[in-house]
Each structure stands twice: as structure tokens, then as C-alpha cells.
Symmetry: C2
Subunit: 253 residues, 2 copies
């Protein structure tokens, strides 16, 4: 759907070394090539991974954009330590969507950081707990008093925000630890960065299309990440964010 | 002056291990203790360094705030590599003040990064070249065309801005490399961060009072940085930013 895709390799170019015709693959693609509604697509091997065998093509196609966004934000932008950070806390703001689903699971499985998710509806609270958050707070109320009520909570050194309203920004500025990192993926209005100046905090964008759009030197990291996600999905350490299937696309939709 | 100070240790507390009475020291202090206009000051040893012997007390007192700000921004926030980054470029925006004076010298002496300074007046252009910038551009004109005219320039992966006007922000968003880092130390109006979203760029604050104000676990890094600066000043690898001395303070000023 859109750019996320999974499918079968029909043919490869002369310089391709990672895949052969017949391989089952998945990828998020790139904005300046055909999208995944086309019957055939041309995709760079450096942003393509081996499809998880345990998943249907439909479920596998729900993984690349959400999985890459979550992984790149946590490990490349916010610099969460693999197997570490037990003395720190990650706040996942807006916890019940596809990206938070992957981010909370990845943080819980691959690091030892303490995880706060946020949700306001009962159904979302259950979902966020299910992904693996240690605590769930209500983002429709001020966060600082709720954070203060969690006894023994390590400092919130990292925040991943999917929904950066002006009041969410003020909440984040209040609770982020000195020298902490705030990650964004949405489209906020201009932000008053002066609120975080005297804590020497940093703000990090994660846009999953950055590596393929700009053909960065480290573009093939997306190949590596997709293969790691595939492995985790096949071993049952990770569940895909697919919530419902809508059947086959047709021209009358 | 203000909080920056140099002087002689008169007495130490029972837990002090780094200094003894009679030591010559310098420091930037912290906002919630006495400033340097007081005759006697109480200062934490973790944010105090040994005064460079080669400098007068007056010249030494021009170093801590500018030197700590420059060092923390370059190496802690923008993560410049010591002895590395020859394939990358640092843009120092607003190049002729005390902080840029120290930042350009430190980047030139301790790393291999290519350095662009900016200035608009002839006198400032000479100063920025004197600090060690490889190139000097005019920040009163659009930067992108000037950058494009520098043949063979490695990508601008880091920008250190001391003067973040709306037009400077647009210039920075245009020329920063994908996955690059922008550092701020001034007081800009709210910024449209969406301009740098699809490059996954990050924005980093450096406020020199962060470590002492919040008593962070790594607060004693300021002691280490001041001692390194002192060593570089004594060996002539670094010049202090002091431009003029105004003589002894008195109550009639």
C-alpha cells in the first residue's frame, strides 16, 4: 500500500548481489520511484530486505515503513544502546499507532531502557501495555505530575513524539532530562526551542525516506535493518503492526 | 567579569581533592552562586581548572565561558571527531565573536574537519581567517550559491550558529547535509523545524551552565575541558579571545 510493499523478485540488474529472481522481499521504497500500487516495481537492493517467511505478504507489507522509522529513530537518532540504558527512561508519546507499536516492542526487546507509553482511550492503554511499555500515562492531561508520581523512575533521557502539539511540546520541555534527546516524526507548527535551551537538549528528525532520497553513504543500513526485523518476526520476538486486511485492491475502490 | 573568573584558591572544603590553597584557577561558575564581581567566591571543584600560567589573570578570565561553550558544542553536541572528519565540513555561522574565535581554533587544531567561517565586514573576515577558517563566506548574502561555488567542498555535516535569524535558519536548512547536525547558542524566535525534516537533521543546544546548574553526572567534564584548554594556551596552540583590557573595576563605573 502506498510505498510499503512485499513481493517476489522477477528480475535483477547486472550489479545486484544481494537477491536473485524468486526471492521473497519487502521494502518501503522511495518517493521518486513507482509506488506499491504498481504491478511491477523497480527497487534498489540497498533498501530491500528478505520478507519474513512466517508472515503473509499482506502482513509483511505492514512492517517496512513503521519498522524502519522506529529502528532508525531509536538507534540512529536517539542513540539508544543495544542491551543497555537500564538507568534511563524512554517516553513514547502517542503510543498506540503503527510506529509506536514497533518502537515500543523494539526498545523492550533490544535494550534495557525503561519505557513509558502514552494513551488516552482504554483500548489504546491496553494496546500500549501489550507492546511492552512498563508504564502508560494519559497524554490528554499534563505529563509532569504523572511522571512525578512514578516512584523510582530513572531520568527521561529520550522522548519519541508522534504527535507534537504546542501543549505536548511544553510537556516534553518540562520533563526531558538535561542533555536529553527528543525525536519527532510529525509536522509540528514552528516550535519555541528556547524552552529546552538551558538543558542543552537536542531535537532529532527521523524521516524514513532520507537515506534512499539522498542516496546517503549509509543507505544500505536499511537492508540490514529490514533483515534484522525479518529475523525477529520469524522468531516471534516481534509482532507486525497490521490490524486488519481489506482484501484485494481493485479499480472501483 | 559576570561569572567568568580567574584567581587564587584561598581555602578548600574537606571533600576537595583537586586543588589546594594557593593554586591559580579559572572557571565559568554557575548562575545560582555568587558572580565574579564578588571579592571572594565559592566554586565547585568539578567546574574549575588550573589557570594557564602563560596568561594574565585578566586574559585567563576571558577563556572559560567561550572555551567551554565552543568545546562542549563541537565535541559533545555536534560530535566532531578528534583527529578526524577530513571528509566533512563545519560551518561556523557568525564567525568573529569570542565563542567562534575559540570554536574555529579548536576545530582547526584538534580535528581535520574543513571549516567555513562567516563574516560581513573586512575586519571580521581577517579575524575569522586568523582563527583558522579555511574559507570565509558573507552571511549578509544567501549562503547556498556561495557554498556551491566552493569546488570540491566536502558535505556540510555540521553547522554551529551564533546568530539564528529567520533567514539564517532558511540558509542552514538549505545547505546542511542529510543526517547533519545544527548547533544553537542564541535565542531564536520559534523555528519551522519542518524545513529540515526530510533530511533527518538534528538541532542541538549548547548552554554552558547546563552541567553545573543541573549537577549532571558528567559535571566534572568541565574540569577536564578547562585543564585541556589551559594546556593548549600554555603551549601556544590556542589564543584567548580577550581583545581589550579595561583596567580595574571600581564602584564608580
Amino acid at each position: 500500500m502506498g510505498y510499503d510493499a512485499s513481493g517476489v523478485v522477477e528480475a535483477t540488474g547486472p550489479e545486484v548481489t544481494l537477491f536473485r529472481p524468486g526471492d521473497h522481499v519487502f521494502y518501503a521504497g522511495v518517493l521518486d520511484r513507482q509506488g506499491a500500487n504498481a504491478e511491477f516495481q523497480l527497487v534498489d537492493e540497498r533498501i530491500t530486505g528478505i520478507k519474513p517467511a512466517a508472515l503473509s505478504f499482506e502482513a509483511a507489507a505492514s512492517v517496512p515503513l513503521t519498522g524502519l522509522t522506529a529502528w532508525e529513530m531509536l538507534f540512529d537518532r536517539l542513540q539508544l544502546s543495544v542491551n543497555g540504558d537500564a538507568d534511563q527512561t524512554l517516553l513514547m508519546l502517542g503510543g498506540a499507532g503503527g510506529v509506536p507499536c514497533m518502537a515500543i516492542q523494539l526498545a523492550r526487546t533490544l535494550s534495557r531502557v525503561n519505557i513509558i507509553g502514552t494513551a488516552s482511550r482504554q483500548e489504546s492503554v491496553r494496546a500500549v501495555r501489550g507492546f511492552g511499555a512498563h508504564y502508560v500515562l494519559d497524554h490528554s492531561c499534563a505529563l509532569a505530575p504523572q511522571v512525578a508520581s512514578l516512584a523510582g523512575l530513572p531520568p527521561i533521557t529520550r522522548i519519541f513524539s508522534t504527535y507534537t502539539t504546542p501543549s505536548a511540546w511544553e510537556n516534553m520541555a518540562e520533563i526531558i532530562a538535561p542533555q536529553g534527546r527528543i525525536g519527532l516524526i510529525d509536522d509540528p507548527e514552528p516550535l519555541d526551542l528556547r524552552l529546552i535551551k538551558f538543558k542543552s537538549v537536542s531535537v532529532h528528525w527521523e524521516a524514513m525516506f532520507t537515506r534512499p532520497m539522498h542516496a546517503t553513504a549509509d543507505m544500505s543500513k536499511q537492508h540490514d535493518i529490514l533483515n534484522k526485523l525479518s529475523c525477529m518476526l520469524d522468531s516471534g520476538k516481534l509482532k507486525p503492526p497490521l490490524l486488519a486486511e481489506y482484501g484485494r485492491l481493485n479499480g472501483l475502490c
